[in-house]
């Protein structure tokens, strides 16, 4: 019987081996994945699943999504990308999208952080205390 803790421990060890200079290295990741798949060990698939979860989470930590009501021009995009690189100390894979529901402003999700400077976001923030109060009177 393998405990979840052992699986987490092994996946964390493999994940540390995948890093080169603090960033995941594609060649090492492929090598580790190949070796895991080819391994006869009975818990290899559980460890691989946890390893992939860490890989996915790391990729999410290096990704940013910027939603805006209207299309941002090139200088604005460059300023956003530079600001994100400064904040996180690395280049973030940034996706720009248009979302008319925001009414105005931008909504930026990077790693597990949110900067909601949109009109819709501010309206929602205003609504929240009222929702709370209404919940009390239900």
């Amino acid at each position: 019987m393998t405990s979840a803790r052992e699986i987490h421990r092994d996946a964390a060890r493999l994940w540390r081996l995948s890093l080169a200079g603090g960033a995941p290295d594609a060649a090492r990741i492929r090598q580790i994945t190949d070796q895991l798949i080819g391994s006869p060990h009975y818990r290899r698939l559980a460890v691989l699943a946890e390893y992939v979860r860490r890989l996915r989470r790391d990729a999410a930590d290096r990704t940013a999504t910027v939603d805006s009501a209207t299309l941002l021009d090139a200088p604005a995009r460059a300023a956003v990308e530079a600001g994100l690189a400064r904040r996180y100390g690395r280049t973030m894979a940034t996706t720009f999208r248009i979302d008319p529901d925001l009414i105005g402003g931008v909504r930026l999700v990077a790693a597990s952080d949110l900067l909601d400077d949109s009109v819709a976001g501010r309206l929602t923030a205003l609504e929240r205390p009222f929702d709370w109060a209404q919940g009390r009177s239900a």
Binding site: R57, L114, L115, D116, R128, G135, R136, S137, A138
Partner: protein, 510 residues
């Protein structure tokens, strides 16, 4: 109106529209009322989380890669991949006198359809218990109105007294009767304009009980006029395990408000066995390691930190008290099971109810030998101490002699007298439910039985004697009863008055 407009304009002018980075999370797994959320790097333990769709969650387990969240509300609305926002607030519930007379859920939201709760203060559900220096010794009594308890197992304000017994032995009835007794005393003091009397407000926390049972208790409290002094916090069996786990802590927060604002409160946790089961369920779905009987390792701490919040605090710290009456249901009278022994060791005594006594017709079915109050005697009224001081020992002697006399041997006159006296005392202790007895009546009755005024009354007629003697006292000796309460001890003059009252009654009793 102009002032109001100006006030709003001034606040608008001062308001700044700023956006700030906030940490968010994403739901990765969801099920069994529990979600695992990735992200939320700056979340606090027990922080309230906004899961969207008006559903609130509590961050209960902070781990290396994710956060374990218990969901309070309808988890069927939530989807994997949905955003989760921190609120920066610990779980808190509304507190204050605005909750009196209301039925609320674990979050303090009304369930009785009587409109919003009139409260502008909220207390965190999890709070550290008052420390040593904030506490005062227990010296004021809680008059339960149940003669067997007030005489032999007295409870003080700020005490934790466990009520333990098998199913259907009258545990809840004792709690409800105590609440009714407080309501009567509070109402009487209000009507008399007695400002020296400290009202005792009650909080009844129903954990994992049937909705029908809770509805019945509420109706009893309403019929007896106890609701205006009572808060009912309901986390019925239909609620999620998370809700049931948090309910007693929410009730304790409501009680602490009274304690910190110069008032006295009494909280009933009905019952902590179901609470432990709810916590076990939450812990197992959170994949925490399980121990004895599959309870998590911190189940003792769960109850100790809850019950330690009951205290009597000093004048600098609120000058109030919170008395706790936790209830534990045993299986086949086994008090040595895991949860009962835990709670017995935490509390300041226990009232043990026995199934055998219950079915023999003793109500309340209190086992005198196994019940104890470790601190309450210091709070007992002196007059009660004078008449009930030797009662416990005498009853223990009676039980031993009664067992011996079953062999049918001849008994000497002294032994027979002891047995007869014991039978009469036990008969006096039989009390109908939801009919608490004022302390002055209890003192008068116990004084009468201790001084042999009931010795000639046949045991089957003791209740009849009691009823008529109480009528006699209330009708023609009202001053005497008032003196017992005001003087709080039986001096020579009061004893003479009691003698006169008992003799005059015995002269007409047939």
């Amino acid at each position: 109106m102009t002032t109001l407009v100006q006030e709003i304009e001034a606040r608008l002018a001062g308001a700044k529209a700023e956006s700030a980075w906030q940490s968010i999370g994403v739901i990765r797994e969801i099920g069994d009322g529990v979600a695992r959320v990735e992200g939320l790097h700056d979340v606090m333990l027990n922080e309230m989380l906004d899961l969207g769709h008006g559903v609130t969650g509590i961050a209960l387990s902070l781990e290396e890669s994710d956060v374990g969240v218990i969901i309070l509300g309808d988890h069927t609305k939530l989807l994997e991949g949905a955003e989760v926002h921190g609120t920066g607030r610990l779980l808190q519930v509304p507190v204050g006198k605005g909750l009196l007379g209301r039925v609320v859920n674990t979050l303090g939201e009304p369930l009785d359809g009587k409109g919003p709760i009139a409260s502008d203060t909220a207390y965190p559900v999890e709070k550290l218990a008052p420390g040593i220096m904030r506490r005062r010794p227990i010296s004021q009594p809680v008059q339960t109105g149940i003669m067997a308890i007030d005489a032999m197992i007295p409870i003080g304000r700020g005490q934790r007294e466990l009520i333990i017994g098998d199913r259907s032995t009258g545990k809840t009835t004792i709690c409800v009767d105590t609440i009714i007794s407080q309501a009567r005393l509070n109402a009487a003091a209000e009507a008399a304009g007695d400002t020296a009397y400290r009202p005792l407000y009650c909080i009844y926390v129903a954990i994992g009980q049937k909705q029908s049972t809770i509805a019945q208790i509420i109706s009893v409290l309403e019929e007896s006029g106890a609701m205006p002094y009572t808060i009912v916090l309901a986390a019925p069996a239909a609620d999620s395990a998370a809700s049931q786990y948090l309910a007693p802590f929410a009730g304790a927060a409501m009680g602490e408000w009274f304690m910190e604002h110069g008032c006295d409160a009494l909280i009933v946790y009905d019952d902590l066995s179901k609470h432990a089961v709810a916590y076990r369920q939450v812990s197992l779905v959170m994949k925490r390691p399980s121990g004895r009987e599959a309870y998590p390792g911190d189940v003792f701490y769960l109850h100790s930190r809850l019950l330690e919040r009951a205290a009597r605090v000093g004048e600098k710290h609120g000058n109030g008290s919170l008395t706790a009456l936790p209830v534990i249901e045993t299986q086949a009278g086994d008090v040595s099971a895991y949860i009962p022994t835990n709670v017995i060791s935490i509390t300041d005594g226990q009232i043990y109810l026995e199934s055998d006594l219950f079915y023999q017709g003793t109500r309340p079915a209190i086992s005198v030998g196994l019940s104890v109050s470790r601190v309450g005697s210091a709070a007992q009224m002196k007059a009660m101490k004078q008449v009930a001081g030797r009662l416990k020992g005498e009853l223990a002697q009676f039980r031993e002699l009664a067992a011996f006399s079953q062999f049918g041997s001849e008994l000497d006159a002294a032994t027979q007298a002891k047995i007869d006296r014991g039978k009469r005392i036990l008969e006096l202790f039989n009390q109908p439910q939801h009919d608490p007895m004022p302390v002055e009546i209890q003192v008068a009755l116990l004084w009468a039985v201790q001084h042999g005024y009931l010795d000639l009354v046949p045991v089957p007629r003791v209740k009849e004697y009691q009823t008529r003697f109480v009528d006699h006292l209330t009708a023609s000796c009202a001053e005497l009863l008032k003196h017992i309460v005001t003087q709080a001890s039986l001096d020579e003059a009061l004893t003479a008055e009691l003698t006169k009252a008992a003799e005059s009654f015995n002269a007409v009793w047939a």
